[in-house]
């Protein structure tokens, strides 16, 4: 029965998202709208997240390979430096071949924001916003918001200490409350508005909100241990540029609910 349920779900998803090419078919999970409290901001500042669909897994090397066969401008030899730095697909031996020690079913990494953004656009999808990503990432196996659970936090922090998890296969970490895998434990992921995290003080007056995140009182405010893992992610996002290609940074796509 469960099998049929799944089959009908994937069929349903497939009909909903005909934009997926055969080789790039990715099952998506429905994420129900809700409010969440980000690690920064005032006590009362809840952020509304609308319903959307999210890829169940990060984009794999196989899927990315299929994409660049269609879009030669994203091949390693063709990509323009303004869109990707020299580390772009650095573990691939050439335009269409992975190095021997890399699996097709590992998440694609060493891809820039520009490449990830265009990949999702080509699937008729988009990158998740930072809030959408964090909203889904709050979940453990059973709860939509597990941020107060000791195990949830220990899991993430012990992952941060584990080297080279980017070589693992997708779908081997836990399946979370929404049916999404690998939000933690495999790779970090691009978000569409990663550049909304401001560490630089140069924005002066206009950057009060983000100063809450990074200046003394702000970081003390975010003092709960439960926020430490998320704090690390925000700091990382604040430190990268869109053309960076980084070995432990991959991505997945999301899609809006079609308007009725």
């Amino acid at each position: 029965m469960k099998y049929f349920h799944r089959l009908s779900l994937s069929l349903f998803v497939w009909i909903l998202f005909p934009g997926n090419g055969m080789a790039q078919t990715q099952t998506m999970a429905f994420i129900k709208a809700g409010k969440y409290k980000p690690i920064y901001g005032k006590d009362s500042a809840l952020v509304q997240v609308n319903s959307f669909y999210m890829d169940v897994f990060p984009v794999t090397n196989a899927e990315y390979l299929s994409f660049i066969k269609d879009k030669p401008q994203w091949r390693k030899s063709k990509v323009k430096r303004i869109f990707a730095d020299g580390n772009y697909l650095s573990t691939w031996s050439n335009d269409t071949t992975l190095s021997n020690n890399i699996s097709m079913n590992s998440p694609v990494t060493n891809v820039s924001w520009f490449a990830a953004n265009d990949y999702c656009r080509c699937q008729d999808k988009r990158l998740a916003t930072l809030d959408e990503w964090e909203y889904v990432a709050m979940a453990n196996e059973t709860k939509a918001d597990a941020r107060t659970s000791d195990n949830y936090n220990k899991y993430i922090l012990s992952w941060y200490e584990t080297p080279k998890t980017f070589n693992n296969l997708v779908g081997k970490t836990f399946k979370n409350y929404w049916g999404v895998y690998d939000m933690h434990g495999l790779v970090w992921e691009w978000t569409s508005d990663f550049n909304s995290v401001m560490i630089s003080g140069e924005s002066r007056k206009d950057s009060n909100i983000d100063r809450d995140l990074f200046c003394g009182s702000g970081s003390l405010g975010a003092s709960d241990l439960m926020n430490y893992a998320a704090f690390m992610r925000y700091a990382f996002r604040g430190s990268i540029k869109a053309k960076y290609s980084i070995q432990n940074l991959g991505f997945r796509c999301v899609k809006d609910i079609p308007a009725k």
Partner: protein, 206 residues
């Protein structure tokens, strides 16, 4: 019934083929550029193929701005805090450029708020701020193209509420091939170096 997946596949192929046409267009363009000795490098912002609306209601690509020194900044017209000062900085820079160099410099203000900043709003903002001459261009994109453009400039911004954004205050100077050659960060900072860069770079055109 069997036809349905097939149609879907066709649809999918169609969407990616469209992008390949874009590449071909781009390649054709660069051939034209090489003819007038303006082939641009991999680092050039003219590699962006996004479309923008100007305050005059025209639709352009960035490479149509090629050939002049570009001084670019990201603002939004309902901004009360930093943007008026950024705009003042732009005006101050423009005033310091000698008459002889002025025709080779274009000032481009890109809206962070494409939803509210329509060409009409940008036009009236331009008039209000006395930035209505031909050397001033205002651009409206969409959420994704603005994000992409900001990422090229390494400008950070965040919507705090409708009509209110926090953003970094960066004025960027590009040479006539669209390569970033100078960035000034902060408000009301000494813009001497920026002005010198613009004069120096515009001299290379003559």
């Amino acid at each position: 019934m069997k036809l349905i997946p097939f149609i879907f596949i066709l649809l999918f192929l169609a969407s990616c083929t469209e992008s390949e046409t874009e590449i071909k267009d781009q390649e054709n363009n660069s051939e034209i550029h090489s003819e007038d000795d303006l082939e641009y490098s991999e680092e050039s912002i003219f590699n962006l193929t996004s479309h923008w609306n100007t305050e005059e209601g025209k639709t352009i690509e960035l490479n149509q701005l090629k050939g002049k020194v570009l001084v670019m900044v990201m603002i939004y017209t309902t901004c009360k805090a930093a943007c008026p000062r950024l705009v003042a900085d732009m005006l101050s820079i423009a005033e310091q450029i000698p008459e002889a160099n002025r025709k080779d410099v274009q000032y481009v203000l890109v809206s962070i708020d494409p939803v509210n900043d329509t060409p009409e709003k940008l036009k009236s903002f331009a008039i209000r701020k006395k930035m209505n001459g031909e050397e001033w261009t205002f651009l409206q994109g969409d959420v994704n193209t603005v994000q992409e453009f900001a990422n090229v400039l390494a400008v950070k911004y965040k919507e705090i509420s409708p009509e209110d954004f926090s953003h970094s205050n960066i004025i960027s100077v590009f040479n006539r091939k669209g390569e970033l050659i100078h960035q000034q960060e902060g408000l009301g900072v000494n813009n001497k170096e920026t002005v010198e860069t613009i004069i120096e770079t515009s001299k290379q055109i003559q």
